[in-house]
């Protein structure tokens, strides 16, 4: 079970994720996207889900039973090579439905003071 004390809290990321052309190209190649100039719309999941995993595991959640329920991205401007993105994560809610634990996490990605993208992930821990 997730420690309920973390619900409503925001955890600022400690380390910036350096967006390289290599990582954009690798992601594009993996999904078959032919345009490598900017990051594809779902690229930031590689940053935010990794942060969420570390945070939620540390707070007692069984990551091995997690499935992704839903996902939303708001992209304020395209992400490009050279961005250094800090991810802050807010545990917006945690509840139990039919024995499954459902956790909603908001992730905000800043490049310096600029909010570049926000995303919301609903993660379901199967009973």
């Amino acid at each position: 079970m997730l420690n309920p004390d973390i619900v409503g809290r925001t955890f600022p990321g400690a380390v910036a994720f350096a967006v390289t052309q290599e990582s954009i190209t690798e992601f594009c190649t993996a999904i078959g996207e032919p345009n490598f100039e900017v990051a594809p719309p779902t690229y930031t999941i590689k940053i935010t889900l990794t942060e969420s995993e570390a945070l939620l595991k540390e707070s007692g959640l069984d990551w091995s039973r997690v499935v992704h329920g839903d996902q939303k991205f708001e992209i304020h401007r395209p992400i490009v090579a050279g961005d250094a993105l800090i991810c802050s994560s807010t545990i917006e809610s945690a509840r139990v439905v039919a024995g499954n634990e459902i956790v909603s996490v908001r992730s905000d990605l800043h490049n310096g003071d600029e909010l570049v993208a926000s995303s919301w992930s609903t993660l379901v821990v199967r009973a």
Binding site: S23, E26, F27, T29, A30, I31, G32, E33, N35, E37, V38, A39, P40, P41, T42, I45, K46, L49, T50, S64, R65, V67, H68, G69, D70, Q71, K72, F73, E74, I75, H76, P78
Partner: protein
Amino acid sequence: MSRYAVGQELAPTTYVINRALLIGYANASGDQNPIHQDEAFAKSVGLENVIAHGMFTMALAGRYVSALQGSAAVKEFSARFVKPVVVPADTDVELMVSGKVLEVTERTAKIEISAYCKDVKVLGMAKAVIALS
């Protein structure tokens, strides 16, 4: 005049999902959960077989959205993962993605996205907002 009109159906595109692509996606995204690669492990946790990362399916639907006005034009993109995409060994699973225009403003279009494997709807409530140039 916008090239989009409310109610307009956008032509479908078919994408392939197979085991090799799931390994490539695991490496590019960092999501190395064995349920997306290891059949014995997937079955041991009660799954029918290896399943695709929900985010891989969403990324393919994202390719469909990017193909409309470019990746740089995508302002919002959301989806619910309603059914897993089961990926047996040595099989190309086809994902069919299509779109329908829900709203058009001077600067944006809101598109409803459908994603099916055979007759199974795999993404629910999938929508994107794209900037119009």
